[in-house]
């Protein structure tokens, strides 16, 4: 009984939040509904994770919902990043409303869509079969389309168009993969599309059909992860979406899509051996890193800069998954959480910078340290965390990925990735230094008095950085969950 409630709660909480905003709109009483829902989601995820770890198995409900340690871990990632993003939302929206860029109606719609977005991501993680999982991933595209295009400017409409077209096509490719895997499964037993059963009976799957299906699934879901070659939507959508939504998209949506690849990898490795997914993922990872590095070098827009940095980290995560050992997958999962937290911090910071300077160009933001020391400090530390400075957890997990790469015969790919990561790190630091340091630009049009950083946003920024540092130094109770989750995916 308690298990049933626990398994359904993570989906019910954001649904309740969405209904709340639909009924009551954006007013004083509902301002903190979003953060409250996110906090409840995080708390439920932690209880669920403890439950799954204690019982040592998975909690299921019918044939549709299943929670094992990997799903529980992903729920925690969703909850934690949602906490940060939604706590900064009220002050973000207040500023937008004061600047006449939003109204109470659009603010209510924003929150409604964000809660629906969270529901879709939770559904992906809870789904017990690949078909339902696919429906959840597609639903994320539909709900976020209007969040991306909310400004209705040329750039916003263009970004939303590209996002929906490329996202839908990618996901259609993934669906072809689902169909073919179902076909193979039909001739191998009665596993259907249930990923657990498919993983158990994978040895009977026809290798020829499974190979095509897995390639389509990885490339298709890879679209939503932002892996090359279907990555073109990512910088546009992240650049145009409101800051709290960019934080969610970059911090968790990409990771949730990658979760789908992890589930596919388990089936693929059992059916085809590890070499097939290893080669495919390593190629995609390197292509993604090359794209990110080449477009970061001369980047002029700081939100797009952060978007390309997300592609870099997804490339690293794909490389770690290509290595595929249990140690590698542990590093990958830790990287997902660390990247989610830090990326939320820097996107929220960037949103605040954009609101106070009125521009998203790097050259328009100069001497941020002098004008807004706290915001500049958080943004700077966040970028340092992104280039894998200790004590942030991205250092430990990045190191784990690289070591696993060398240990599994991916030497050339790992070396190439290291060089690209260094180039990307240098570009990120140079661009950020230009924003933070230097004399503030004088002259007409410069806002004289800058409003201080709202307290709730400041708390979210500091908390995100703090959490990332803490899990980098001592993962604590998270370690057990990480190990159990990695054991589900990692090859021995």
């Amino acid at each position: 009984m308690t298990t049933t409630v626990l398994v359904v709660l993570p989906a019910l909480i954001p649904v309740t939040g969405a209904v709340g905003y639909a009924v009551f709109g954006w007013r004083r009483a509902t301002r903190w509904l979003g953060p409250a829902a996110a906090a409840a989601l995080l708390a439920t995820s932690i209880v669920l994770a403890a439950h799954v770890t204690r019982e040592g198995s998975s909690a299921t409900l019918g044939g549709l919902v299943r929670v094992d340690s990997l799903s529980a871990y992903m729920l925690i990632v969703i909850g934690a990043v949602a906490m940060l993003a939604t706590s900064a939302t009220p002050s973000y929206l207040d500023t937008e409303i004061r600047a006449k860029r939003a109204t109470a109606r659009t603010a209510a719609r924003h929150n409604l869509l964000v809660q629906a977005f969270l529901t879709a991501m939770v559904a992906v993680v809870l789904a017990a079969n690949l078909g339902a999982l696919w429906v959840g991933v597609e639903a994320t595209t539909i709900v976020t389309a209007f969040l991306v295009g909310h400004r209705r400017t040329r750039a916003a409409v263009e970004a939303a168009w590209k996002y929906v077209v490329i996202g839908s096509v990618g996901i259609a490719v993934a669906f072809l993969g689902v169909v073919l895997l179902n076909y193979a499964s039909l001739h191998a037993g009665d596993a259907g599309l249930d990923w657990r059963a498919l993983g158990d009976t994978a040895a009977n799957l026809d290798p020829g059909v499974t190979r095509i299906a897995v390639a389509l699934l990885i490339i298709g879901f890879g679209t939503k992860v932002g892996l090359a070659p279907l990555h073109a939507w990512l910088p546009d959508a992240h650049g145009q979406a409101p800051a709290p939504v960019s934080a969610l998209m970059s911090g968790v949506l990409l990771a949730v899509a990658f979760y789908a690849i992890l589930r596919v990898k388990v089936i693929a490795d059992a059916a085809l051996g590890v070499e097939f997914t290893r080669t495919l993922l390593a190629v995609l990872a390197l292509a993604t890193l090359v794209v990110a590095a080449s477009l970061l070098l001369a980047q002029r827009d700081y939100k797009r800069m952060l978007a390309y940095s997300s592609m870099e980290h997804m490339g690293l995560i794909a490389l770690g998954t290509a290595a595929g050992t249990q140690v590698a997958v542990t590093a990958v999962l830790l990287h997902i959480l660390g990247h989610g937290l830090v990326k939320a911090v820097v996107f929220l910071g960037a949103g605040r910078v954009q609101q106070t300077t009125g521009s998203s160009l790097i050259e328009d933001v100069r001497g941020l340290v002098a004008r807004q020391p706290l915001l500049a400090g958080c943004f700077g530390l966040g970028v340092l965390a992104l280039v894998a400075m200790p004590p942030f957890s991205l250092f430990a997990s990045g190191l784990g990925v690289v070591r696993a790469g060398y240990a599994t015969g991916l030497g050339w790919a790992t070396t190439a990735a290291l060089v690209l990561v260094l180039v990307i790190g240098a570009a990120l630091l140079t661009h950020t230094a230009r924003m933070l340091l230097g004399a503030p630009r004088e002259g007409p049009g410069t806002p004289g008095l800058v409003s201080p950083l709202p307290a709730t946003t400041a708390v979210a920024l500091v908390a995100g950085l703090g959490a990332c540092a803490v899990i980098g130094i001592a993962p604590g109770p998270l370690a057990g969950l990480l190990e159990a989750a990695a054991a589900l995916v990692g090859a021995s």
Partner: protein, 218 residues
């Protein structure tokens, strides 16, 4: 499978493929949308033949659903995205007609090569038609990357989707009903979202030429 039902199945598959080829050939958007609706009818024909063959009520319901969604509703939604004024043709196509048709032939060959393992897994008159579905998927991609109008891009996406549905039907795999419903709903919603965006695009850009989309470049 009886001879007559095999004949009918291949007839429906042939019509399905032919409409996709004609979409590549034609340039007028109104004609393209009519062809797309016809393709929906052919697709529901495939489902209907399979329903009779397997005496399955579920397939029959599926055939009716496909007909309603892909032959009536989706073409209607795309038609609404067409500008009421202005040229309704592809005026400056990226690839000319002859080259396009040649490319389609190459894509069909590719689909037959790729589909070999799929047919060999369980050779039967039904599975031998799988390459047709894959060809339509590839043609959809081709339309998507070579057309400049917003509405033709949507048609490209829908061709891909029709092709995937055809493969799903021909592999005789029973996809769970929840998934089937979710997929149909998702496609409908995605197209509605795109239609709304096309309207906004016209409001801000004054046209739905995708060449105008040049704000976001690196």
């Amino acid at each position: 499978m009886t001879d007559i039902s095999v004949q009918l199945l291949y007839l429906a598959c042939g019509a399905f493929l032919l409409t996709a080829v004609l979409v590549v050939w034609r340039r007028e958007l109104a004609a393209i949308i009519r062809l797309f609706a016809l393709q929906g009818v052919a697709l529901s024909g495939i489902a209907a033949v399979l329903a009779v063959h397997e005496r399955s009520l579920e397939h029959a319901v599926l055939a009716a659903g496909i007909c309603a969604l892909r032959a009536v509703i989706l073409p209607q939604v795309v038609r609404r995205a067409l500008p009421p004024t202005g040229p309704a043709r592809e005026t400056r196509p990226l690839v000319n007609v002859a080259a396009s048709l040649l490319a389609v032939a190459v894509l069909a060959l590719l689909a037959y090569v790729v589909a070999q393992p799929l047919v060999q897994l369980s050779p039967s008159p039904v599975t031998r038609a799988i390459p047709v579905g894959l060809t339509v998927v590839l043609i959809g991609f081709f339309v998507l990357v070579t057309r400049r109008r917003a509405a033709s891009q949507v048609i490209g996406f829908l061709l891909i989707d029709n092709g995937v549905t055809a493969v799903a039907l021909l592999t005789t795999a029973e996809i769970p009903l929840v998934v089937e419903l979710g997929v149909s709903l998702d496609v409908l919603l995605a197209v509605l979202v795109l239609q709304l965006l096309a309207v906004r695009m016209r409001a801000t850009f004054g046209s739905t030429e995708l060449d105008e989309l040049t704000e976001l470049r690196d």
